[in-house]
Symmetry: C2
Subunit: 271 residues, 2 copies
Amino acid sequence: MNLDKCCIHTITTKPWSLSEAVDHYAAAGVKGVSVWQNAVENSTHHQAGELIRSHGLDVVSYVRGGFFPHTSTSERAKAIEHNKKLVEETAALGAPLIVLVCGATPGQSLETSRQQIRDGIEAVLPLAEELNVKLAIEPLHPMYAADRSAINTLGQANDMAEAIGSAHVGVAVDVYHLWWDGALETEIARCGANGNLLAYHVCDWKVNTLDMLNDRGLMGEGCIDLKRIGSWVEKAGFDGYHEVEIFSDIYWKMDQSEFLYKVTQAFKAHV
Amino acid sequence: MNLDKCCIHTITTKPWSLSEAVDHYAAAGVKGVSVWQNAVENSTHHQAGELIRSHGLDVVSYVRGGFFPHTSTSERAKAIEHNKKLVEETAALGAPLIVLVCGATPGQSLETSRQQIRDGIEAVLPLAEELNVKLAIEPLHPMYAADRSAINTLGQANDMAEAIGSAHVGVAVDVYHLWWDGALETEIARCGANGNLLAYHVCDWKVNTLDMLNDRGLMGEGCIDLKRIGSWVEKAGFDGYHEVEIFSDIYWKMDQSEFLYKVTQAFKAHV
């Protein structure tokens, strides 16, 4: 795949400031940027969006809201207020959507957490609709079910998006979280068919993963059949960006220009 | 729960020899032992079984066979021969079943690996039937899908056991692998109803897991609601042992007598 649909998450090149990232991405022929919160530290969100657009790049998404479940009512209310602020930031950035890492809380059942996630999304939704910001539920790998997300399959994310039933709520498909799921093809078709497939994230699963959070692989370096999953996403009618999102202690230690070159080469070869 | 249904996997107290483990388990009031291959090094399998029974303990299972998928035909044939040897060892030990960690191979799809798993089980089955050894398909957590098991949900294990359709093939339910699955209650009921629920393994999932293999928690130390899952297993008609299987670099470093005390206390409090 050429780079016309290539977007990079700023976290992928974490050592770079937003300004450095944008300069390098544009020079490399990348076309979109997904902005992590930590990348917007020295400017307003509006300025950050302008900076990105001034380099001819699209602002693809803002990452990330969510973390709705808490055992205490006041903590849940705080999470909702925080997410409203994030939706405002998404709009100020000029991003069409915010990715939701929905949350989970040890000590309560995953069903209870899922109900609190739904309540949280529905509380934030009126503002999201008003500001025309979409909320993308991202199912996370089951290894994060303890405290990061009670939504661990695309089936569960689709169920929730459909139950909420707003044009401003959909799902984000990340191969790292979902590649193992026997129902993945079917569930991708399902969210594609009803307009809920909002985002597609790529990286790879290293066979010998050293760290549960920060050892994602570059595309082609692991066991995920990206071309196959990509064909399902395409068949489902998705024509948005393929977003590279790699957390890696190993790659963050590299010279980031060299790493970016590897990213673009891997994108062309494997996505 | 008292210790009448308490079984311990020898790997849980890895620093102990089988003889030490059996002495300590019996003295602690534990009633069953699941024997890992590495525990039978200095005796025949028949002798190991006799040793266990002479302490008034039941031999609950032999751990573990499987690893059927390989890209090369000759490797797959070797895996089948190896599993036949393991079935013979299970019979010699006097264990009613062997647990299968089914395997997966990077570079081929999970569907292909599952087909090779089924072919492998069916090739071993005649001998298992002849020796009256049951084969328990253990679904492994999706974080092991790259190279340890292409069977990652109880639904997939149930599908395969039912497709093979032998009284000598069933499933092993391990809470560590399955606790996150929204379909778990239904799938436990399913394998209970058709006689395929052969084994039940307990431990806990630590919220901050440090290692993907060897950082399992003691029951009560993590986020798994063991009493709830235990009630599903009981409701499904299972009345076998609750098998403690903990791999932990942390606990293996402890004095194993102290650790065994913790295990029995945690079993009484949380299982």
